[in-house]
Amino acid sequence: MFEFLFKYPEAVFSRGTFVLLGGWPIWLLGLAILAAAAGLGWVVWQRAGSGRVAGARSAAVWVLQTLLASVLLLMLWHPALSVATLRPQQNIVAVVVDDSSSMAQADEAGGTTRRAAAVNVLNSGLINDLKGKFQVRLYRLGDHLDRVDKLEQLNSSIPATHIGDALKQVVADAASLPIGAVVLVSDGADNSGGVDLETVSEIRRQRIPIHTIGFGKEKAERDVEISDVQVPARALPDSRLSAIVSFHQNGYAGQKAKLTVKEGSKIVAQQIVTLKKDGQEQSETLLFNAGTAGVKSVETSIDPLPGEESAKNNLVTRLINVDARKPRILYFEGEPRWEFKFLRRAVEDDRTIDLVTILRTTQNKIYRQGIANPDELKDGFPTKVEDLFGFDGLIIGSVDAPYLTPGQQTLIKDFADRRGGGILFLGGKDALSDGGWKQSADVELLPTILPDRKDTFIRVGATVELTAAGGDSLITRLVEDPAKNKERWKALPYLMNFQDVGQAKPGAVVLVDAKPMTGGRVPMLVTQNFGRGRTAIFATGGSWRWRMLQPLTDKSHEMFYQQLLRWLVSDTPRKVTTSTPKQLVSDDSHVSLRAEVRDRTYLPASDAKTEAHILGPDGIAEAVDMRPDPIEAGVYTADWTTPKPGSYLVEVVANRGGEELGRDTMTIRREDGVAENFHTQQNRELLEKLSSETGGRYYTPQDASKLGKDISYSDAGITVRETRDLWDMPIVFLLLLSLRAGEWLLRRKWGVI
């Protein structure tokens, strides 16, 4: 219809430029239209008089006549479209056909596969159409781009689709070949993270239009798919971890499904969930124990539901490195008190934490416990960077700030900021505001705005209650079920005392509120990130009652402190910290390695020699040099290609001047044949976006036959600029006729004719 009315395909209008071929200047056209409007206005006004065509009716007649005159005048100026077209037989059209395993899905009409439907569309005249005007190059698309001679060579066997990489190769070819357009035949199920902006910009710069033909259902009728599973990359042994499972479904709204987390063959967490509306993303959290040290392969799955189209997208695997390290926490306490005793007892069974304490027993004496050797901390709280930064976490109890020198106070700040350690401040008679911390160099460390007075430690009983954030936090999870956990906190014995710590700073999170018996509500447990580390306040010295006032079998107090202290240190970095965006790569061989290297005082070490030693399956052993990042000081990066599927142990070692600064290990794994099980529906959004960004167009298989005509209009390759007359478009005559007929009908209605 469009082409019938407008004479040319849509592509001519979208890619062409409007021009007036008449020799007269354009201002004259404007003047002529104005003159015609004025003349017609005068005539209509003269004739109006007291007749039936007066007032608004005469204005309507004037508008219609003026429009008619304007269109006629415009035609005299010879309107046309200037459009670049590909020179016949001098350009190449790249036809890129997706040959990944997702194209083997038989979800096209009549139960045919996507590949069969694509071949059918191409063979039903489209390829011949293109061959009539251009040289056609056929490519098969998978995790890379291959040239093929015949469509029969396609077999949907490639285990991954990397559209971005394929287009990069086409763009590279276009530098030496006259590629005028690209036809991408695909389901859009890319599993390399999409097409990056850089590639799209390069295609736009070369003006190559990408026309896409989409295959496959856009929405599954009956399927559940796990979109993502978030687990920490690293953990401490026996830590409580969370797996945040995101998934969506179609066809099973309101039904129950079973979520399972397994480590090997052992089920570590299970939960029954009710499925939300079709297509709606749903997120559930499952808690499990990290277990002993080592690399853990954690499988998260949803049990297949009856009649599900594909069960392969119900399972996702993640890797967790459970570190064998035992973080050291220094607890500095200013007075012997029950909180000190019971905190020590709470974590003594935690095999993952090494608690070292310094206690001021008398005015002039300290008592040390948990020290590594008799000389450690013999002079009290550390005064040197190396002594304090050897710890991963720090607890400051009822200690008045002036007891510490300004240098020690700065050291504490640097401990969180530069070292990346965690600092916990406890309440007490000499703690926080009452201990002068408001006036100390460490005031900015604190997650709350401390009151400016010294009567904030109040020996009044207070019950506790979880906030919304506390309900979600692993620190405060005493019972698996969130609702029961909330009730459990309410039922805890009251605290002996609490400290008013003021309001939480922006960015800080209040996990627990205290409800004093005197009324009101104040923050009790507040956390925040600070610099590379994190800080928290637990505003009481009276939680020991959770131990003494509950049966021996109740472990609430121990669990709380163990979880709080693990949070404090689990993310404390070492001198060398290795990471990668994806520990588990599916059907991809590229691995990006990143290492953050610090010296003995935890300052960025930009002049270190940093090397990654990689051990892989079948005796693969390789050393990869890591390059300093030009922007981030102390950061080193490297790209590496995994030769084959399997697990790889990566150990990064940093040396400077013959001295080893540190080393860190992590495990990565490459799995093939997995990626294509996910996102199997047609990703029309990606295909449409790709077309619109590059000046191409998205086609369904039904309207793909139009592609043959549209494709000629391109700025890429070898082109010739053509002009297409517009005056003889049927729409123009139809418009003129409509204007005249409109006036006639109006006059008839008014009884003038």
Binding site: G334, P336, R337, K341, T362, Y367, K429, M548, L549, P551
Partner: protein
Amino acid sequence: MRLRSLLWLFLGAIAGWGVLRAQKPFKAYQGVEYENFVLPEDWQKPAEWTRARLIYPSFFSVHGIRDGFHRWTIDYPRSDRHLLQGMRRLTRIDTRSVEQSVEPDGDDEIYNWPSMYAVEVGYWNLSDQQAQQLREFLLRGGFLMVDDFHGTVEWNNFVAGMTKIFPDRNIVDIDNKDPIFHVVYDLDDRFQVPGMQYVFTRSLHEYDGFQAKWRGVYDDKGRVMVAICHNMDLGDAWENSDDPRYPEKFASLAYRIAVNYWTYDLTH
């Protein structure tokens, strides 16, 4: 609606009563030796710590002498007040000026005071229920120091009570290297601390308790749960530390023992 409001009021009242009941206020008892003992000026000032005194039922007769009074109040409260002053002065423990007398009577009060002292335990006569509650108290993290009992007869009676509390744990001598003797002061050289009878008789011992015994019951983690001071009278030493007739060296050691024991309690 009215019924629900009444129900909430009732529940609130129960909760409030429970909370108030959970920790009892200080109460002065009539002592065997002291009546209407003057309270310190700051007796109402709350503090982080105080030492509790165990109220226990005692045998009417142990040595064949019919006492007929409450043994748990021996030296009370003068001894307690002196000790607490000493703890304030010698340590950084934020100490209340008055003790707390508690009874293992089945409610939760005993658990509010994890640092417990019992005197004349050679006379204690614990019921099964009291023994069970003391066991629970100690296993949850409470600490008990017993003192002022002498000789074989009182020892045997103490052991009978202790066996009720811990049928499966042994009483052992505390090694000199144990942190309890070093946490603040190094107390390798200890000697028998006599009671006030020394002032009148120059006798260090009572009955056949000729040698001071530093014993204890340990928990599974190797910490002293019950510190047993047999054949000595630290309570008398604290009580009479302001009496010029009582030798300073005994009082001094008694205080140092107390400082170490209670600091040990708060650190282990």
